[in-house]
Subunit: 214 residues, 2 copies
DNA sequence: ACAAAAGTGTTGCAAGTACACCCATGC
DNA sequence: GCATGGGTGTACTTGCAACACTTTTGT
């Protein structure tokens, strides 16, 4: 055992939890009630316990802020600049989470538009920028965007999600062709209800496992 | 200060150092001289010091094994499964390094072909597989492959490097068209010397900063 | 002169982009 | 019947894939 030969850094996890609702890409922030950066907004985070898997820690930390059942979570990057926390050396393993909008009930006000964030505590602004880049680039080749949607959805809902995340509008016909060509969707045979106009076919992911949940 | 409220995990860094020479993609391994996994091969690694940037730690650890001046290094992933080290909880921030072949002098025997590795200590086999995937996918959109080459090189040398990393042969004309279309090279006007046949034009990267060195 | 690597152009195909119209429903 | 979003087909352009021959040098 070499556990006490020299001091170890603290290991924390911070979570960049994204969701798409009300027409914006949003991120979950909490308000700090301690120094440093007291009363500033920050990413939810916490210590990784000594026998806890890091990803489980990220999931736990997120659940402490808001009860979320099915969310996709993946590791983003590890930040360890010795100056990033003025108190002591903190190494933070940051995760990115994708939260379906229908799970956001009580605490909508904590979800802020990614494109209009205030100054956040620590290096959290740059962390979120990195996460946003990663999210955007994963849209092309992964099914990560479906993590924002319920289990069944219309093609227009997917397109809107892509548009909000990418920050640009997409051609309807080309988008549909591309998404269908990927062979990841199947029709449910059902139609959307309650819309003011023509109902849309509802689709779902071909494999339930296409998205990993934790 | 919350430094001693509870035990912190140990934080280490391991480095997957790649190089391309003698026709293979190779990785730097060391032989462990302590339990566990005594006398097995393993990735070079070591503790992150309490005031040391993680990336600097990775660079230092690598230099302890073999003196390397200009290498490209980037963070790969952080492994923190509580069972991965039988002694105590260890969280390892793993980096990937790209080492030019001309810097490998004395210790060639420690660089092993990635495609014929023995059983390594800890989870190091799977770490290297992940690094190899990342390296391959970065060939498309980055200049990372030039980290294997000297400052000037021929088009055939680049192509050979790509082929070795990807594990497949590439069409000469298409490769050249694509690499030139990326506008990242400029001719030096010089020609390769000493080849048994027609000399080839030497190129270099347009921006010296296209590759970040540390 | 010949062996070996350097170097170059064109054609076919697939994927992406741009664009215009009909359909089903609620009001 | 009209406004609104759902849904489809086609032409153009661009990038990728496949393929054969000429050039320059050392021996």
């Amino acid at each position: 055992m070499y556990q006490y030969e020299f001091p170890h850094p603290a290991v924390t996890t911070d979570v960049v939890a994204f969701s798409v609702f009300d027409g914006d890409l949003r991120v979950l922030l909490i308000r700090r009630n301690e120094a440093p950066f007291k009363s500033d907004f920050a990413l939810p985070g916490g210590f990784v316990r000594i026998d806890e898997d890091i990803q489980n820690a990220a999931h736990r930390v997120l659940n402490e802020k808001t009860p979320l059942e099915k969310i996709y979570i993946e590791q983003l990057y590890t930040f360890g600049n010795p100056e990033r926390d003025p108190r002591e050396r903190v190494i933070s393993v940051v995760y990115m989470a994708i939260v379906p909008f229908y799970q956001i009930l009580d605490i909508k006000e904590l979800w802020q538009n990614v494109n209009h964030l205030p100054e956040l505590a620590f290096d959290h602004n740059s962390i979120i920028m990195l996460a946003q880049q990663r999210l955007r680039s994963k849209l092309r080749y992964s099914t990560i965007a479906f993590g924002f949607l319920p289990q069944t959805f219309t093609l227009t809902e997917i397109q809107k999600t892509y548009e909000v995340v990418l920050g640009e509008s997409l051609e309807k016909r080309n988008f549909r062709k591309q998404i269908m060509a990927r062979n990841i969707l199947k029709s449910t045979g059902e139609y959307s209800q309650g819309g003011a106009h023509r109902p849309a076919l509802l689709y779902k992911l071909l494999d339930d496992d296409t998205l990993q949940y934790w």
